[in-house]
């Protein structure tokens, strides 16, 4: 069996059976509708069609398909994970059908997640807790039974395309495909065209993330020049950077790009919930291999939290803006200064998570983290000659004018810190000009690229920004000789912004006392609350239309009905959907005494590896309010103010009809291996409610 989770995986066949219509007739409101006519159904139709192409789960024995890390002119790392151990072998060569070289066994590091003493686990994992396996380096929080292999391929030629395959002994695990390839970095200083992709705040596992990836791929394909590598500026695994979130919302999402180009990461605040820069421990540090000893150029940092690397004539610096001391007296800032002293490339690009200038979903004039970055780190970088700064965190695309010396800790102003207030577009006001080489204080362009998947937002307008776009997308950067071009490509694969930097000669540096200013931003009237989007990669744990134990016409006593072990044999066995107009709600659902209609349903479902579940959610149509319990713990409530059961108060009328996706909170705490109980109570807004009903299905993102 491919997956351990006892669930029926659905893909394209699921749509008609799950989604109710928007039929204005309340009596038909909760009927099944196979016609795909409402907007959710249409949306889901689209999503479902795309799912199989985008977020395919890895085939056994892989639990994480091979991906590339830490390249240099002469070496690269290939990483992958399996469920249970294998005999790891990596073969490589210059033709896909001729992998004539083998990575020595000594060059493959194995890490394992084998649980702790006394921890409950499946017998097959218990058997793996041998002294030999327990002596392996540990994976921090991967599902038990996970083995991670990190193969270092050495002795390569610079700027050369190679193909690779992963084997279990002699059994080939990866397909013989030209897609499993890598290109080594060129020798330091080599001048040729380079292209890299920049994205941030993408790890939602939702449709926008997929669209941004597809948009970039479409644009690149049309342009005919592939990526050399890519940079993620953080927040790649919402909500808390757990190992399962990395798997489903990063590795499975970008597999087609990860297998043939290196992703250089920066840690975001969401990864920071579970990974710590001060210890170097956590799923983020398990997932990535970055140079700590200057393996890819740059000054050895001695830590994975911050690092640098060279790619041709570009020097890149990655900082941890989340949880390390940002002050100049701290180790990271001291390393930054020392690294800049050594950098001899023609271009200098820095990236991290927290933006020094933003008015997107975050405000850099109010938030301490962002102010500190601006106040402490930017002066070091600008006196070191930085050209481009890439950040995320704020869910928006913002791109500055040519800027230098804007370190104010209060409100950022543009006066006397803008060196060129044009649009930087070669087709418009022309490219920004700097002198050749790395020169201090000749200006840098700041790009906030936190718009690659998460919900967007804007609180105002930063006066140093030339372009502000509240739409999903990512950034493509081309560097060719003395010219850098950045393009914002949106989710449809359309170029929405272009800027260029040209480093040539010795242009006059002047500070503009009254630079161009972007128009004031007026926040729109409060937008209606939109539903939370469903995951793209999901399986159904409880399908729609199945039987539930249900109680209507009265209230259960206490909260024991929500817990496993409750004797529900006296409750009716009824099939969803439950609605007042179709006679399927066990009468009217009205309690025997005066009161508004209420309904209580419960059903068991089985999960055999809870630590592999990323998210649980209900695909549910309901009227008017619901409270959802998992194994006796309340995990979600919608439209119900306070209390529960007979005491439920403040039930609001649900304006919209149709099913929505409702994620369940804190499942990592409450979901268990084996039998779980989902219990839902549904309350009507008032006694006179006639369109009272409930139609739930339980989905699992994995």
């Amino acid at each position: 069996m491919k997956r351990k989770i006892m669930a029926r995986r659905i893909r394209n066949d699921s749509v008609g059976s799950l989604h109710p219509s928007r039929d204005p007739d309340p009596s038909r409101r909760f009927r099944l509708n196979p016609s795909c006519s409402d907007r959710w159904v249409r949306w889901l139709c689209l999503l479902s069609v795309s799912v199989s192409a985008w977020a395919a789960n890895p085939q056994r024995p892989f639990t994480r398909l091979p991906y590339l890390q830490g390249s240099s002119p002469t070496q690269i790392q290939v990483l992958w994970r399996t469920e249970g151990p294998i005999q790891p072998v990596v073969r490589w060569g210059t033709r896909p059908d001729q992998l004539d070289q083998t990575v020595p066994a000594a060059a493959i590091v194995t890490r394992a997640s084998l649980g702790t003493n006394g921890q409950a686990m499946l017998p097959q994992w218990q058997r793996l807790r041998t002294p030999e396996n327990l002596s392996l380096p540990k994976l921090h929080s991967a599902p038990i039974g996970t083995f991670q292999y990190e193969a270092r391929i050495e002795g390569l030629s610079p700027d050369t395309v190679y193909y690779y395959g992963v084997f279990n002994g002699s059994e080939r695990l990866t397909a013989e495909s030209p897609e499993n390839r890598f290109q080594t970095q060129p020798s330091p200083g080599t001048v040729r065209p380079y292209r890299f992709w920049v994205l941030g705040d993408s790890g939602t596992g939702r449709e926008a993330q997929r669209a941004v990836h597809d948009g970039m791929l479409a644009w690149v394909k049309q342009d005919g020049r592939p990526l050399d590598f890519w940079i993620h500026v953080g927040d790649m695994a919402y909500g808390t950077g757990r190992d399962v979130e990395f798997q489903s919302r990063f590795f499975e999402s970008y597999q087609t790009t990860l297998r043939n180009s290196v992703c250089w990461p920066a840690m975001g605040n969401h990864e920071g919930h579970t990974s710590k820069g001060s210890t170097g421990i956590g799923p983020y540090y398990d997932a990535y291999w970055v140079p700590t000893r200057g393996e890819s150029g740059g000054l050895a940092s001695g830590t994975e939290a911050y690092y640098s690397f060279d790619h041709g004539n570009i020097h890149f610096i990655c900082l941890d803006s989340h949880d390390l001391d940002r002050k100049p007296s701290g180790a990271m800032a001291k390393w930054l200064k020392a690294d800049l002293e050594k950098a001899k490339a023609e271009w200098l690009i820095a990236f991290w998570h927290h933006p020094p200038y933003t008015k997107g979903s975050h405000d850099s004039d109010k938030e301490a983290d962002l102010i500190e970055v601006r106040h402490h780190l930017l002066p070091i970088l600008e006196s070191g000659g930085v050209d481009l700064v890439l950040t995320g965190h704020s869910h928006i695309y913002e791109r500055s004018m040519l800027l230098d010396g804007a370190y104010s800790t209060n409100a950022t102003v543009a006066e006397n810190v803008i060196l060129d207030d044009g649009d930087g577009d070669p087709r418009g006001d022309g490219a920004y000009q700097k002198g050749a080489g790395l020169r201090p204080h000749e200006g840098a362009v700041q790009v906030v690229a936190g718009h690659s998947g998460a919900s967007l937002g804007r609180v105002g307008t930063s006066p140093v920004m030339r372009r502000t776009l509240v739409e999903h997308g990512s950034l493509l950067v081309d560097v060719e000789g003395d010219t850098l071009v950045g393009r914002m490509i949106n989710r449809e694969g359309v170029e929405r912004d272009r800027f260029s930097l040209v480093k040539r000669g010795t242009p006059l540096v002047r500070r503009l006392s009254l630079p161009w200013q972007p128009p004031e931003y007026k926040a729109p009237e409060k937008a209606p609350k939109s539903p939370y989007p469903p995951p793209l990669d999901y399986a159904v744990l409880i399908p729609a239309g199945v039987e539930w134990r249900a109680l209507a016409g009265t209230h259960p006593q206490g909260a024991s009905w929500t817990r496993p072990g409750f004797d529900d044999s006296s409750w009716a066995l009824a099939k969803a959907p439950f609605d007042s107009g179709r006679g399927r709600l066990l009468g009217s659902g009205r309690p025997s005494k005066e009161g508004r209609p209420s309904l209580y349903v419960r059903r068991e479902f089985t999960v055999t590896q809870a630590d592999r579940v990323t998210e649980l959610g209900l695909w549910v149509d309901y009227a008017d309010g619901i409270i959802v319990h998992l194994n006796g713990q309340e995990v979600t409530r919608v439209n119900v103010g306070r209390s529960s059961g007979r005491n439920a108060q403040g039930v609001k009328h649900r304006e919209d009809s149709g099913a929505v996706y409702v994620p369940l909170g804190s499942i990592a705490r409450f979901l268990v291996d084996g039998v779980n109980v989902l219990a839902i109570e549904c309350h009507a807004h008032s006694e006179g409610t006639i369109d009272f009903g409930l139609n739930p299905a339980l989905w699992m993102e994995d």
């Binding site: 000054l299 007296s329 020392a338 967007l456």
Partner: protein, 322 residues
């Protein structure tokens, strides 16, 4: 007229776009709202309280952060992450004894991961430093390194304490061990500083030359070489290096001077050139923009050479040109 399919797709894409824009932004204030709602809905949870405390900390609301973390500790007294966060927040609030209390509680936890133990020991070291117990701070750095020999910042902090509480040979050996363990370039530079502090001029000079040759920005390395040359009595060459370093530093100084690392370099160059008052002004300036204790210490050290003036009332006769 557009086909039905086209209209469906465009309305769908428009809907998705609007949906994306309309989802509330996730700035810290909004996150606090969301987490507060979750606390009401799901009841008290150490995880949620920890998340909310981090958001409070981002906004500088340390009292609220500490309150949440104290609640989280009551719910999860064995959660080292919560205890560590609380200790850090208390230290930031200047409540050193409370911070020490939480560190002690965390260190007493059974089966504490080694990396976590090292991080806690470093917080304890910072607490000791705040209390003025340099020797204990130094001991905690060393103990942290026993648990996690990869901790670059601990080597640096230990070296700084060893400089203040002179233990020369141990300092150099400790840094050499750090270089072996981590390969960090920063420790290479710190070892050279240690050699200079100990007057091992020849050894220092030999180590400086290749670093200088491989550097694009040479100011810091020229200053180090000048120290070594001065020690060897080669004053003319030292003078030349210092002038060269000052020239480079001035060319990198922004009009809006804030880069304390550059100011510190300039201060040292000026000090070595005998421009004591200008150097002292630079140290003071560096101390006010994040230069850390070393800037303040250097200023105080120089102050001793200017008798009869209160340090903080002191005004320079020569204003540095920015």
């Amino acid at each position: 007229m557009a086909s039905l399919g086209t209209r469906i797709v465009s309305s769908l894409l428009g809907g998705i776009l609007c949906l994306g824009v309309a989802w509330a932004h996730d700035g810290p204030e909004h996150q606090i709202e969301v987490l507060s709602e979750r606390l009401i809905r799901e009841g008290n949870s150490a995880d949620i309280l920890l998340e909310r405390a981090i958001e409070y900390r981002v906004l500088g609301r340390l009292t609220s952060a500490a309150r949440d973390l104290q609640r989280a500790v009551r719910l999860a007294p064995a959660d080292s992450l919560v205890l560590r966060e609380l200790a850090q927040v208390e230290l930031q609030r200047g409540r050193v004894s409370k911070a020490l209390l939480w560190v002690r509680q965390a260190l007493a936890l059974p089966e504490l991961p080694t990396g976590e133990r090292a991080a806690l020991l470093m917080i304890r070291s910072h607490c000791r430093a705040a209390e003025g117990s340099g020797q204990k701070a130094l001991e905690d750095c060393s103990e942290a390194l026993r648990w996690n020999p990869q901790l670059v910042s601990a080597y640096l902090e230990r070296s700084a304490w060893q400089r203040r509480l002179p233990s020369p040979q141990v300092r150099i050996l400790g840094l050499e061990e750090g270089i072996r363990q981590t390969g960090a370039g920063l420790l290479v530079a710190e070892r050279i500083e240690a050699l200079l502090d100990e007057g091992l001029w020849q050894q220092a000079l030999a180590a400086i030359e290749p670093e200088l040759a491989s550097s694009r920005l040479q100011g810091s390395w020229k200053i180090r070489r000048a120290r070594a040359l001065k020690g060897l009595g080669r004053h003319f060459e030292a003078q030349s290096d210092l002038q060269g370093a000052l020239g480079e530093i001035e060319s990198r100084m922004s009009r809006a001077v804030k880069d304390s690392s550059l100011i510190l370099d300039r201060a040292l160059a000026r000090e070595l050139l005998g421009q004591t008052e200008a150097a002292m002004e630079d140290y003071r300036l560096a101390a006010t923009c994040g230069g850390g204790p070393e800037a303040l210490e250097a200023a105080q050290r120089l102050r001793k050479t200017l008798p009869g003036r209160s340090f903080w009332r002191w005004r320079p006769q020569v204003r540095p040109s920015f």
